[in-house]
Symmetry: C5
Subunit: 86 residues, 5 copies
């Protein structure tokens, strides 16, 4: 997984049917040589803009959905505690 | 997923049988340290050149197809709204 | 897999239910052109901060769990011997 | 997928049994910030040195084989038309 | 797959049970813009230090094992012939 900061919403009215109702957030990788990399992650746990999150990528991201056939490759799986310094 | 801009068509007359009829688009990653990375993504939702899209990669890209045995690793899953600024 | 050093704990009180009780560690890639890359890896074998570990990524990371539906994409699979120089 | 140019053959007499008879080609990524990245891709459609090809990576590459248990993570899935400029 | 050179052994006495008896080698990517990247790959075909090998990554690496539940994401699948120049 990677640590990232939620920086914006991504709105896409035209999209795959299986993605309707799913929230997409733009996140930016925090720290290390990948700092500043942007990703779009599905959010099912209610992360807000500005929060630091744990993002899971690849096929494992689909494990956040109730069904396996959703075309996503990144999902927010946790919100990093505010008092967690790293 | 990543945010990218559709920049061209990719034509390949000789290809895997399971890819016949599938549209391939050249997309360029937008923003962040990966800006300028090129990818070829399958398009089943009718994205046009110049549009900004959400691209899903890896095994999840196959979820955009009706069958699981198509050899693609990237697919356009949404078209970003024109008034979405990020 | 990659060789990495465990550098911190990652605390996330709000997270996917399937992740409750799972320890997340921040690790830093060691050596080569990826040196300094940060990753969050699940730890089920008791690695401590400062130890060098072997991290497995992607769908294979889920093989460290007792069930396949846990949304993780990186796991510590071994602790590199202290006298192993490379 | 990525656009790449076939630049050489890779010969490996000692290899996994399931790979015997499979042609391996060295390809070089074309364009964008990944230009110059080298990959070894399995070729089942008869690409020649110098041709531009579409390479599929990850688990999807195995979909080019008749069976799913072949240890490959990249395969040539199409040959880009000579008159396709991008 | 990628072409890499075997540069060392990686010893990890404490590791996942399913990895016991499996040989781990440190390999360095050869050529292209990824030259110098380090990876740890499982070796079941007897590659020696100094040899050039073909490394398969991701879920496909598990196809080198007799069972699918081994947490590895890279495996040596072939040894490049000494007289193969590229």
């Amino acid at each position: 997984m990677i640590a990232a900061k939620v920086i914006d919403n991504i709105w896409a009215t035209r999209k795959a049917e299986s993605l309707i109702g799913l929230k997409f957030m733009l996140v930016e990788v925090l720290g290390g040589i990948d700092a500043g990399r942007l990703m779009i992650a599905a959010d099912t746990i209610g992360a807000g803009i500005g929060e630091r999150v744990v993002v899971c990528t690849g096929s494992s991201a689909r494990k956040m959905m109730n069904q396996d056939d959703v075309p996503i490759d990144a999902a927010i799986v946790g919100i990093i505690d505010e008092d967690c310094t790293f």
